[in-house]
Symmetry: C2
Subunit: 200 residues, 2 copies
């Protein structure tokens, strides 16, 4: 039952935000009375923490794939982006939830996110720098700033995917596809002028 609650709460927090989600609404979505939700998660805050923790956990579980993608194939960046895109495409609520955490002000949650992000920032920035020394990556890239901007772009692009597809018009599915394609292209071209792999 904890899982059902977590699932519905995740959906609601992602779409309506923390303040916009009532414990009663979560209870209704699951089909329980309000105190039953409070039985499993003692406060609304604890429920939100659990939801955010779950997204971070799911991300950690995706890590092996990403690291694998990062060390194989002709175009490693392309592979990594593919995994990240898959992670958010799978469940766009993840991106919406993370966007809220960043924008909703709670400094404590931000700090928790930063703790998760900082090691990644260092790792990825080192990769970029390495590429620069090898001449594969443009010299004018600011490695740390690039990584941060790419993370922002990835998360917010998926968080806004629905609206963006609406603005683009046409069939929603193909609109989403065009947007993801251009997103990936932009990120790659911002790092190096032409694909890594060269001619196959």
């Amino acid at each position: 039952m904890k899982e059902r609650i977590l699932e519905e709460a995740g959906r609601l927090f992602a779409t309506r935000g923390y303040a916009g989600t009532t414990v009663q609404a979560v209870a209704d979505a699951v089909g329980l009375a309000k105190p039953s939700v409070i039985y499993w998660y003692p406060t609304k805050k604890a429920l939100q923490d659990a939801v955010v923790d779950q997204v971070l956990l799911e991300w950690r579980q995706t890590l092996p794939r990403v690291l694998d993608a990062a060390s194989s194939g002709a175009d490693r960046l392309d592979n990594v982006l593919g995994e990240v895109v898959w992670f958010f495409s799978q469940a766009p609520d993840r991106a919406r939830l993370l966007t809220r955490v960043v924008v909703d002000d709670p400094t404590e949650l931000r700090d928790r996110l930063q703790g998760h992000l900082r090691p990644w920032l260092a790792l990825l920035a080192a990769y970029v720098r390495e590429g620069q020394q090898a001449g594969r990556v443009r010299a004018d890239v600011d490695p740390e700033a690039w990584v941060i901007e790419v993370v922002i772009l990835l998360i917010s692009s998926f968080a806004a995917a629905e609206v963006a597809a609406g603005v683009l018009g046409g069939d929603p599915d193909s609109a989403r596809e065009r947007l993801v394609g251009e997103l990936v292209r932009m990120i790659k071209r911002s790092l190096h002028p032409e694909p890594e792999g060269g001619t196959p």
Copy 2:
């Protein structure tokens, strides 16, 4: 007094969101009793609408500058980006507010935003396409998708600027500067491999 209310409400809606902002909090910030706020803006919803309208109005007032920047100088894209960056740097709450409108779900607000965006999308995409025909812009760019992704990146980058600067570390001001610099570089390089202007 309407102005004071609008100002404080804008600050609060941007930082805490619609559901997270109470009419009482707005009243306290201005130094009025709650019913006095309701006197000037008959409902909380009307107050939010006024706040969003104001941001859109300020953007329209910035338009002449942007259009001017778009038709002068060696690197027109650079000039336009400079104006947009200035618009959001001036008041980062604008970006945070727009992010919320997109993510907070109210379909009606989205539609209003889309109405504002659509003509721009067409105009900017046409510019990109024109550049492609002249060979100034890479052929693999998807003009409409590119414009949308750039708008998303610009808005969310400023909305997350504070957190991003925290992750980057060091002096907050110079961190912000690095991030904006890289943001602009990414956008430019995603369109054409080298600066438009050539050697001066």
